[in-house]
Symmetry: C2
Subunit: 408 residues, 2 copies
């Protein structure tokens, strides 16, 4: 008998029929003798519908009120699933984020979880109830409703699993696991039986939309075993675990991630003196925008060019911030590019294998794909290319690193 936290995303609860299918699935696991905490997203489309209402009133609505508004989406699904469980004779109870005291900071629409009070859930589990919790939401210390930002339901699930010391946190989604790369781009992509937190972190942060990056971070930090499974078909999914000790057995490259959601900004000709980079990034982070890659080349003539990438949705705002401050920063010019893509090789095995970067760059060069930016970590190599070359680059690398599934 184990304790599982099971999270179902918006597509999995996208209609009454699907909510009833989730109820059946939950009861199946319950009848196997497991204790279950179920975390839900809003019905697919509902969050966007609510945001649409807000945008009719104000393009830039109050963040505190956005949280009051959009948190209703999950509140609807937890009530409906709990009704469906009860209808089937399964004792269950629903809770909003606030009711189980998912305490967060006060950064509305992008809050971070500080703690969870598991006592109430524990009491329900002890009485044999399935506990159904609204993902994505919490409360700050003043009792204001907060949300964790898009995809935050995964983070909620992992945080609940950590607080409850669950045996596994199972993320049910519309894909049946983590693949070597996106099967829609590369036909021969393969499902991975397991992957390390580190690799998954790189895969997630680089745009494999299976799991939210913060959820993986959380899971790694608290050693919560995480499994990605399909809501719609049976199968073992992909288990995300602590680093495999037998690194020698691992393939050099586990997968290829990519991301079309970024945009690139370059500040040309700023003074090459200490503090300039901090000033530039301070502008961006002060507006609560997130930066991904950061590149600065060796200086010439005492000036340097500073390049970074932001989420494409934040591009206009970031560009305006830089344009407004260009004079103050002493910059010659601010340029940007909205049509880029990032492609990354990920693999723990890279650490012990030289030459991965060389092979990567050669594979791209063979297809005449120009690399605009390069960034590396211990277990990944990322390059930015023009968006139009993305599919070609991913397919070329998938083959070059031996990831293609074997023909039957």
């Amino acid at each position: 008998m184990a304790l599982y936290v099971q999270k179902f995303g918006g597509t999995s609860v996208g209609s009454i029929e699907r909510i009833e299918a989730v109820a059946d699935k939950v009861i199946l696991h319950k009848e196997q003798g497991h204790d279950l905490v179920v975390v839900l997203s809003a019905m697919s489309g509902e969050t966007n519908r609510l945001i649409g209402l807000a945008k009719q009133i104000d393009d830039n609505p109050l963040p505190r009120e956005m949280d009051v508004l959009v948190s209703t989406g999950e509140q609807v699904t937890i009530a409906l699933l709990t009704m469906a469980l009860a209808k089937r004779g399964c004792a269950a109870r629903s809770y909003t984020g606030g009711q189980v005291k998912v305490l967060t900071d006060s950064v509305h629409t992008k809050a971070r979880i500080r703690s969870i009070d598991e006592s109430r859930m524990r009491a329900d589990l002890d009485q044999g109830r399935v506990v159904v919790v609204a993902g994505f939401q919490g409360v700050d210390e003043h009792g204001n409703i907060t949300t964790l930002g898009r995809g935050g339901s995964d983070t909620s699930a992992v945080a609940l699993a950590a607080a409850l010391k669950a045996d596994e946190c199972q993320i049910y989604t519309d894909v049946d696991g983590v693949y070597t790369t996106d099967p829609r781009v590369v036909d021969s992509a393969r499902r991975l039986a397991s992957i390390t937190f580190e690799e998954m972190l790189e895969m997630a942060s680089l745009g494999s939309k299976v799991l939210q990056i913060r959820a993986v971070e959380f899971a790694g930090k608290y050693s919560v075993p995480l499994r990605v499974l399909s809501s719609f078909k049976d199968g073992p999914g992909t288990l995300i675990t602590l680093e495999d000790e037998d690194v020698m057995e691992q393939p050099v490259v586990s997968g290829i991630a990519f991301n079309r959601d970024e945009a690139k900004l370059t500040i040309l000709g700023v003074a090459d003196v200490p503090g300039v980079a901090a000033k530039i990034l301070g502008l961006i982070s002060g507006a609560n925008l997130e930066v991904d890659m950061i590149i600065q080349n060796t200086a010439e003539d005492n000036t340097t060019d500073f390049t970074f990438t932001v989420h494409r949705n934040d591009y206009q705002q970031a560009k305006k911030l830089l344009d407004d401050s260009a004079a103050e920063l002493g910059a010659r010019e601010v340029i940007g590019d909205n049509s880029i893509a990032k492609v990354s090789l990920v693999g723990v095995g890279m650490r012990s294998h030289a030459g991965v970067a060389a092979n990567m760059f050669k594979a791209l060069a063979d297809e005449s794909i120009n690399m605009q930016m390069i960034s590396t970590s211990e277990i990944k190599i990322s390059v930015v290319v023009a968006e139009k070359y993305l599919e070609l680059a991913v397919r070329a690398l998938h083959t070059a690193f031996g990831l293609d599934a074997e023909e039957d």
Copy 2:
């Protein structure tokens, strides 16, 4: 400078445009220097949409989860109005029932308010903010979400006004006041400038759907001046106040209420001994159904007939309860009628005027309308007639008691 609690119903916030119109109206009053607490219902249709989702899962969904579900309706409107106020430069903050601790009992879907913590609202008002509160909802002592039942937003508004010692509780609705009777039935119906709590209580309980009865009770109990106004056109509305001291000046009959929402049940031939009536009503109240009129005639042959009315929606359930218990109650038969209507004369002035009942019965007899049940209180006389005679009865009484508006 006064403190007003202003409540806007579902029709008044039924679209983004209407929510923006409410924001404009609120700001107008704010600019006149008043402190404002705004109480909102869900957008019209939204509560029914949510109930529809639940009914797809279970005809008889868990009451606790119904409250979790439907309370999202008001949460959406408070966020949207607060955004609209902010967009117009008016500082505002929204609160769910739970956030301002509208503490209720634990009778889900029909909870009653016990207390309200006004401190948080007071702090906002002191800082010049408009406070926007979700009507219809609260929390029980365990933090479970509760709702007050249909129309409960009026009750929320009055309870908030009482807790805050507001100068006036203003109920904005789709009518511009309380009328002598329904203008859709009687062309010559007139708006009343004022009416006493007692009269309003009788009018509300008898089916004038302007205000929820519990709201009027609450207002009377805590002496909260209540005003009914139109959301859509300007005007003074109708003020509901403590009893006018100058009763002599009042007309004998203030208005004529009517109600098509009831059904009648009669238990024939039960023993005329103490305890039988209590047993019958115990059955009904035990199922949380509400009873309106109760009539028992003088006994013959040691048996009696016991008749009462329930809400038409509860008719089938009440009928089944009685049928199942008929043998145990020693009843000969249980009969019911679903197509009745109740018509009532209401007026504080009745107290000091004999002959009102006689005039009423004569006016109905002149139209050959048979009275099935009669019930009286100090300030009202109600009769039950066949539903098909309702309009005729109301018009005849409106004329007979001199309520018709004078021709211009």
